[in-house]
């Protein structure tokens, strides 16, 4: 074996590498924890864990200064697998360690997968309301709806990122091109009549001329939503139809007619439609007597299956989610102003079972190894 390859192999199977990687991961986790004060949990995950390097901005440039979660996790995985492949010996004395490390591999891979594929949505329901979609917590889309047929909406959804990048969209479903003119990642909106000093609006159509959108600082806090705004120009074959303002704070779509059809424009959270719908029958919210400490929240919902029929009634409450059709519904929050509106967290995570199996394996392995050590220790003392 050439010396270089031997050196590389020795590095990857060494416990020294393991210790260094563990130390690096501690620093990474600690740094990320402190970073949450300013960045919020979501920002920290992107910057520290779902990345190969942690970048620090110095002036114009971003420098990689520290290995990120993917790099450390990946190297740990390589280290673990190669060490075991290299030193493989069958025997019960190491069986606990084997099971533990197999579980660890599953845990690391499972978390990687769920980091990549997990999707989070929210469903907000008033009592008596029925919905067949949940909404993204962070992502928005510009929905252009052909509402000519009152029974049926034909939707073209443009992701927020395309508005941000100024990507011009042409779709066979639309008789016009969509040209993003301006985009604010977070903003407030006021009536133009209330803010006489606002700069002139690029909007010429719909509600735009009446409104002033003021850019605001992007928030990373977990409980605050950003409210993006954009000005989009629609350009038909004969020229511009005008410029509209779209804003997540405008509760209703703006309507206009073009080419003999009725259109609606709406910047809204990305929707995830499901073939069934859910009705909120009752929301309950108890507090401990004489305090404002919440004791329990629960939502009694009815699942209405696509084939019709009565459906079934389910009680969703804290620590007791509903798992249905690959989605899981959790009692997340409620509207304190009315006490009649529930907010359910909706999660799609196909790898949710992986950590359960992994943790079971690791715990089992640790217990076996611990008992083996304990037995040896006791035998050694008896002899002594």
């Amino acid at each position: 074996m050439p010396p270089l390859i031997r050196q590389v192999r020795n590095l990857f199977v060494s416990l020294r590498l393991t210790v260094v990687l563990l130390a690096l991961s501690i620093i990474l986790v600690f740094w990320a924890t402190l970073g949450q004060v300013n960045l919020g949990v979501w920002g920290v995950q992107q910057r520290f864990f779902h990345s190969f390097f942690v970048f620090v901005r110095l002036g114009e440039f971003r420098f990689p200064v520290f290995p990120g979660g993917y790099l450390i996790g990946g190297l740990l995985l390589v280290n673990l697998v190669s060490a075991h492949a290299y030193r493989f010996r069958m025997g019960w004395r190491k069986s606990g360690i084997w099971i533990t490390h197999a579980g660890l591999i599953l845990l690391l891979v499972g978390e990687l997968v769920s980091g990549l594929v997990q999707q989070d949505f929210q469903m907000r329901l008033d009592e008596g309301e029925t919905r067949n979609y949940s909404e993204s917590i962070r992502l928005n889309e510009l929905a252009i709806i052909d509402a000519t047929d009152p029974k049926f909406d034909d939707v073209v959804a443009i992701p927020e990122s395309m508005l941000a990048n100024g990507t011009v969209v042409q779709s066979p479903k639309l008789p016009f091109r969509v040209v993003p003119r301006e985009y604010y990642p977070n903003s407030t909106v006021t009536l133009r009549s209330k803010t006489p000093n606002a700069p002139p609006s690029p909007a010429t159509q719909g509600m735009g001329p009446m409104l002033a959108a003021v850019p605001a600082e992007v928030s990373y806090q977990d409980d605050l939503r950003n409210n993006p705004a954009a000005f989009v120009e629609l350009v038909g074959p004969e020229g511009s139809l005008g410029t509209w303002i779209v804003h997540t704070l405008l509760g209703n779509p703006q309507e206009f007619n073009y080419a003999g059809r009725t259109w609606k424009l709406f910047l809204r959270p990305v929707r995830h439609y499901s073939p069934y719908s859910i009705t909120l029958e009752k929301f309950s919210h108890d507090i401990y007597p004489g305090t404002d400490i919440p004791k329990n929240f629960s939502s009694k919902v009815r699942i209405n299956p696509p084939e019709g029929g009565d459906g079934r009634e389910v009680l969703i409450y804290m620590n007791n989610p509903l798992r249905y059709a690959g989605l899981t519904y959790y009692q997340a929050s409620f509207d304190p102003s009315t006490d009649r509106t529930t907010i359910l967290q909706v999660v799609r995570n196909p790898s949710w079972l992986a950590p359960y199996i992994a943790c079971g394996a690791i715990a089992l392995g640790l217990v076996i190894q611990f008992l083996i050590h304990l037995a040896e220790f006791a035998r050694g003392r008896r002899r002594a």
Binding site: S14, L15, R16, T18, V19, L22, A23, S25, I26, V29, F30, A32, T33, L34, Q36, V37, V41, V44, Q45, F49, E111, S114, Q118, D120, I287, Y288, P289, G290, T291, I293, P294, K295, N296, F297, M318, N319, N320, P321, T328, Y330, A332, Q345, V347, N349, W352, P355, Y356, C359, I362, A363, L366, V367, Q369, F370, H373, F377, R381
Partner: protein, 613 residues
């Protein structure tokens, strides 16, 4: 004779503990104790008035006994009686702790008086408006970013309103003879109500009678709005056993029902006899009222009685001193009297452990919960778990190292708990998301055991370093034994911190839909797991020897203290309960001492007093 000394030492300590359970000679009279046992509903649970008095005093004053301006010592129950029924006297007691010079200048004390730290309500009352104005300015600021003055003024204002709400909970502001007023109301009630009805219907009526009733109603509304102590039990026919009322609310029902609520009358009667210093009639009313409650709320009354005894016995406070004594005995055994002092230390640790076990078990029974529900109980449990492990170590090795570590950890954790108790009632209600005895009993208990064992490994390493560097007592056999102990405990800690952390992940997956969310407390627990794994791998790889292992274990103390307290100080995330500013400085100091110990451990062996050939 020598062999009997340890029995004697432990017996003396045990008698001291038992004395805490017995009523103190010359302490408060039976009737006052019976008053303290009366159950009320406050902060979401039914508890004795004694607990209300004690937790209020801990929050406002920082300790439980009150000294009057005449230098008379009052028990918490006597103080509460004065606050409720003789407020003009209670207002003169200096119980409000004012520690900030800016606040002292705000309340107008001149320079010479700046040493005054405790003030009475009467001394603060003229400045209520300024205090309130400053509080309104400081309150919107995030707690973590408040200046010292801002947090002090928010706290002082909170304490003042806490006191006022308590003062107004049974009798209205400024009433001189509430019992007389209620009896008068009872007599004139039917005429008065009739007059009000006639007035509302626009018919001829007795204006004076109607006004009197309307004024009473206004006064009761004021009472109902200004307190949160629910002292009046639900009516006999009320289907909801938790529908306790405050006094004003119960009085407002007088007009509909046609009679004054008998519980309110009973409290007014107690107030009258306490004010006019008639102990026999006070005792009589408390007894009658207490036994009437016992018939209807037998279980709660029994619980309240046990809680009162528990309050007075202060098992954790007693345990703290027992552990300190045990630690001193253990150290003594290394320096002199190896056998006598070692066995005494062992006995004291066992006694301290028994006392804390009884205390934790009582808390669990009172609360109907697993042992760890908040930061306070985590301190109790970390101490308890470490001491249990130490007892096993000492039974195995018999070299006083286990008892020394037990004494140190037991004392330190109970001291921490003692200070955490200043935040208020420690048997608080669980927020909805935490309201799961299964997960509190598994995740929280296991992860707390992981914390406890990581600390224990660190403390054993501290003993190794201190004995090695500063004494000649660390011979090779002891050093090897310590190294084996630390290694074994680190293995144990890895197991428990890992299992506890992943159980937390599973709980999070059950309640929020993500196994891991990078929340600060989760990260803290993860760091402990990784650190323990790092120690084990470093040892297996031969990267560290005995001293290196000790240094890593000491650093484990830093890691664990960060996870336990530091993560709460960030003020973010789902677990951010129990932030205290003072804790920050203690945590920093603790980390500094641990770093210093690691530095000392790295002195060349020639500088160690042990191991020198």
């Amino acid at each position: 004779m020598r062999q009997r000394i340890p029995f004697f030492v432990v017996a003396v300590a045990a008698i001291c503990v038992l004395l805490g359970l017995a009523p103190h000679p010359g302490g408060e009279p039976d009737a006052v104790q019976a008053f303290g046992r009366l159950p009320v509903l406050a902060e979401g649970r039914i508890k004795p008035l004694d607990s209300v008095a004690r937790s209020t005093l801990l929050v406002i004053q920082g300790y439980q006994d009150v000294t009057t301006p005449e230098k008379k010592e009052l028990t918490p129950d006597e103080w509460l009686l004065d606050v409720l029924f003789v407020p003009e006297k209670a207002d003169t007691y200096r119980i409000f702790y004012v520690d900030n010079p800016d606040i002292l200048s705000l309340v107008g004390t001149n320079k010479a008086d700046l040493s005054i730290q405790y003030m009475s309500f009467n001394e603060l009352a003229p400045h209520l408006a300024e205090i309130e104005a400053q509080e309104k300015l400081a309150e919107p600021v995030e707690p973590q970013t408040r200046t010292r003055f801002q947090s002090s003024v928010v706290q002082l204002y909170g304490n003042l309103s806490h006191y006022l709400r308590l003062r107004r909970s049974l009798e209205p502001e400024g009433s001189k003879d509430f019992l007389g007023e209620l009896l008068h109301l009872q007599e004139t009630l039917s005429d008065g109500v009739e007059a009000v009805r006639a007035k509302e219907a626009g018919k001829p009526h007795d204006e004076a009678k109607a006004t009197a009733i309307i004024d009473e109603g206004q006064r009761f509304i004021g009472m109902a709005e200004s307190t949160d102590l629910l002292a009046i039990p639900p009516d006999e026919d009320d289907p909801d056993p938790n529908a306790w009322h405050n006094s004003g609310h119960a009085l407002l029902e007088t007009f509909g029902k046609g009679y004054v609520n008998p519980s309110v009358l009973a409290y007014a009667g107690m107030g009258y006899s306490w004010r006019s210093n008639e102990p026999s009639s006070f005792e009589h009313i408390v007894k009658i009222y207490g036994s009437s409650l016992e018939k209807r709320f037998g279980r709660q009354v029994r619980k309240a009685r046990v809680e009162t005894i528990f309050n007075a016995a202060q098992p954790f406070y007693a345990g703290m001193w027992i552990f300190l004594a045990a630690f001193l005995c253990a150290v003594l055994s290394w320096l002199k009297w190896p056998e006598t002092a070692r066995v005494s230390a062992w006995g004291l640790v066992a006694l301290g452990w028994a006392v804390t076990t009884a205390g934790i078990a009582t808390r669990m029974w009172l609360e109907g919960r697993p042992p760890v529900t908040n930061l306070y109980s985590s301190a109790l449990f970390i101490g308890w778990g470490s001491v249990a492990l130490c007892l096993v170590l000492e039974a195995t090795y018999r070299n006083a190292i286990g008892t020394a570590a037990a004494g140190m950890i037991g004392f330190a954790t109970l001291l921490i708990a003692h200070h955490l108790a200043l935040a208020g009632d420690t048997l608080e209600m669980m927020r909805a998301v935490l309201d799961s005895n299964f997960w509190l009993g598994t995740h929280v208990v296991v992860v707390t055991t992981g914390y406890a064992s990581t600390f224990l490994a660190g403390i054993l390493a501290v003993i190794y370093i201190l004995r090695g560097v500063f004494t000649r007592t660390l011979d090779k056999a002891t050093a090897d034994a310590l190294a084996r102990m630390v290694y074994g405990i680190v293995c144990f800690a890895t197991l428990f911190s890992f299992v506890g952390t992943t159980l937390g992940g599973i709980w999070a997956d059950q309640s929020w839909g993500r196994f891991w969310g990078w929340d600060p407390k989760e990260n803290g627990a993860l760091i402990i797991v990784i650190w323990n794994a790092l120690i084990l791998h470093a040892r297996w790889g031969g990267l560290v020897k005995q001293r290196g292992l000790m240094c890593l274990a000491v650093f484990g103390n830093i890691v664990t203290s960060w996870s336990w307290f530091g993560t709460n100080m960030l003020g973010i995330g789902l677990h951010s309960y129990g932030f205290t500013e003072a804790a920050f400085w203690w945590l920093s100091a603790f980390i500094a001492t641990q770093l210093a110990l690691i530095a000392i451990a790295n002195l060349p062996l020639a500088r160690w007093r042990s191991f020198r050939a």
